[in-house]
């Protein structure tokens, strides 16, 4: 029997035992959340024995919105604004896989320039999401400079996205058949200067945060999840890559133009919380590299959107398409009965997969390590609850 099975059995045994003798004075109940004292809109029920966590239960569902049911009553275009609400910082990526799935059901292909523009928007959105996550990770480890810097630098990317898509966060930019509008006339130069500046700033993050001995002491060797356990628990994205598995949907199942782009899958082999905090940073560097290539390879002329009627009908059938979002694999499973609305729509999000590893990581660690472990999971509660 592996260590993971042992640990899961131990967690289950403790859960039964704790519910039996609930009036035990030795253990203390702690309810972290759900109204955001450092957990997002999400509750973690914790039992501590002194300083050590003996039981942890991630209680998801506080911000459940019924996105999947809502989708069944709206047509394919009307679904876009509400489906991007779960992750407003990463709204292009959450609509990207939806667009890909609907394109397959309708049977259209976006024009080549449209594919490039969509990929640029997705990479910029990944930067927006990751800087926001980094800011929160910094402030919950008590590093307030690391909250201010990424929040400020995020504005550079948001400015680019606003020029491109028309909105700061909820873009509604990617649609079945391409993107809604072409890039403005001086976008290319502006994007290059701002991305170059952003990359210089990323080097400073390394000095003040990642190479800071205080952060290293709090994260190195904490919350170990080895390669076999990570695969067994089914985590995705940066959490999986931090455990030494070089798995990225952009490489494994290349969509749109990603098979023409030259990039490396960033991963680390140390399997601890530091690796989980550092891999998104490496991803940001890689994203800057990808954006430069996309701008370079983008065709100068051509349409960006395949024309479709507003109330378009899909062919009967089912499809599953996924993309690599800021939090890992993000897929849409859509069944169509040939009408103008999806018959069933299921969203598979990276956050939901990653949070299932939380009890495994928390049990046995100190209460003080909880924020470091929890936020490094790259978890976004609203996306997981949908």
């Amino acid at each position: 029997m592996s260590t993971l099975d042992d640990k899961i059995n131990e967690i289950n045994r403790l859960a039964i035992q704790i519910t039996k003798d609930n009036d035990d004075d030795r253990l203390m109940n702690l309810s972290i959340g759900p109204q955001h004292p450092g957990s997002g809109h999400f509750r973690i029920v914790i039992k501590v024995d002194g300083d050590y966590i003996v039981y942890a239960d991630p209680d998801i569902g506080y911000v459940h919105r019924g996105e999947e049911k809502m989708s069944e009553h709206r047509n394919f275009i009307q679904n876009i604004p509400h489906l991007e609400r779960p992750v407003i910082h990463d709204s292009t990526n959450i609509i990207y896989s939806y667009s890909l799935a609907i394109e397959e059901l309708i049977g259209i292909n976006p024009p080549r320039r449209g594919q490039f523009v969509r990929a640029i928007a997705a990479e910029l959105d990944r930067l927006v999401y990751t800087t926001y996550w980094l800011a929160i990770y910094g402030i919950f480890l008590g590093h307030s400079t690391m909250f201010m810097w990424p929040t400020g630098d995020r504005e550079l990317i948001i400015d680019l996205l606003e020029r491109m898509t028309g909105h700061r966060v909820t873009h509604a930019f990617s649609v079945p058949g391409g993107v809604r509008n072409d890039i403005p006339y001086n976008f290319k130069e502006k994007c290059l200067t701002q991305i170059n500046y952003f990359e210089k700033r990323l080097k400073e993050y390394e000095d003040i945060f990642y190479n800071n001995p205080l952060l290293r002491q709090r994260t190195e060797g904490v919350g170990i999840m080895n390669k076999e356990d990570a695969i067994k628990l089914g985590v995705t994205g940066s959490v999986l890559r931090a455990s030494g598995v070089p798995y990225d949907i952009r490489k494994v199942e290349p969509y749109d133009v990603y098979d023409e782009i030259d990039f490396k899958v960033q991963y680390m082999k140390s399997c601890d919380t530091f690796a989980r905090a550092y891999v998104p940073y490496l991803d940001m560097k890689e994203s800057c590299h990808i954006i430069r290539q996309l701008l370079d390879k983008m065709p100068d002329e051509g349409s960006v959107r395949e024309k479709i009627v507003g109330n378009v009908k899909a062919q009967p059938g089912e499809t599953y398409r996924r993309v690599e979002s800021g939090r890992g694999a993000l897929g849409y499973y859509i069944i169509s009965d040939g009408s103008t609305k999806p018959y069933r729509l299921k969203i598979s999000t990276g956050s939901f997969r990653n949070i299932l590893a939380l009890p495994f990581l928390l049990v046995g660690s100190k209460l003080g390590d909880m924020p470091a472990i929890y936020w490094a999971l790259n978890y976004w509660p609203i996306e997981a609850d949908r």
Partner: protein, 166 residues
């Protein structure tokens, strides 16, 4: 890297910012400049024109009262209702035009995509605060007004870092 050099490097990179320019935008005094006149849509090509998606602008001489914008909004925000107007236009026999409730609007712009007569566009106007909820409901007459465009600040790169400048 040992502990001492790690601390020194961290403090160095922080103290360097004493001489850097302030990135903050001083909002009511300074306003951001936008690229175009707002999001527009060309129904012939089926492609939009890049621009900020702010408050709408309605061209009364082009609106036919076809209700396509209201139908597009039905599953999204239900912000658009068609109301009767006093004006008489040749193309608008029913004399109905869209009225938009900005308490509900999510500024997705799919109503602009739905308009086949170049009558409904979006503008750069994003300052829509009001004292009561009823003041957020814009009548067709209010929607016809072209907003004032006074933004003049944008992000610039200098030797002392990025800043908002003219």
């Amino acid at each position: 890297m040992n502990t001492a050099t790690g601390f020194i490097k961290a403090i160095q990179s922080g103290t360097k910012h004493i001489v850097m320019k302030r990135f903050t935008l001083r909002y009511p005094e300074e306003k951001l400049k936008f690229t175009g006149d707002g999001y527009q849509f060309d129904p012939k090509k089926g492609v939009g024109i890049a621009g900020t998606r702010g408050r709408h602008i309605l061209f009364h001489d082009k609106c036919t009262g076809c209700q396509l914008c209201a139908i597009a909004c039905e599953g999204i925000a239900e912000a658009i209702t068609m109301v009767k107007v006093d004006e008489q236009w040749k193309q608008n026999k029913k004399s109905i035009m869209p009225q938009i409730d900005y308490g509900k609007c999510v500024f997705c712009g799919f109503c602009v995509d739905a308009c086949p007569f170049y009558a409904l566009y979006m503008t750069n106007d994003y300052e829509l605060s009001a004292y009561t909820k009823t003041h957020l409901i814009y009548t067709p007459a209010q929607l016809a007004v072209k907003p004032r465009d006074d933004g003049e600040v944008e992000i610039k790169m200098g030797k002392r870092g990025a800043y908002h400048g003219r």
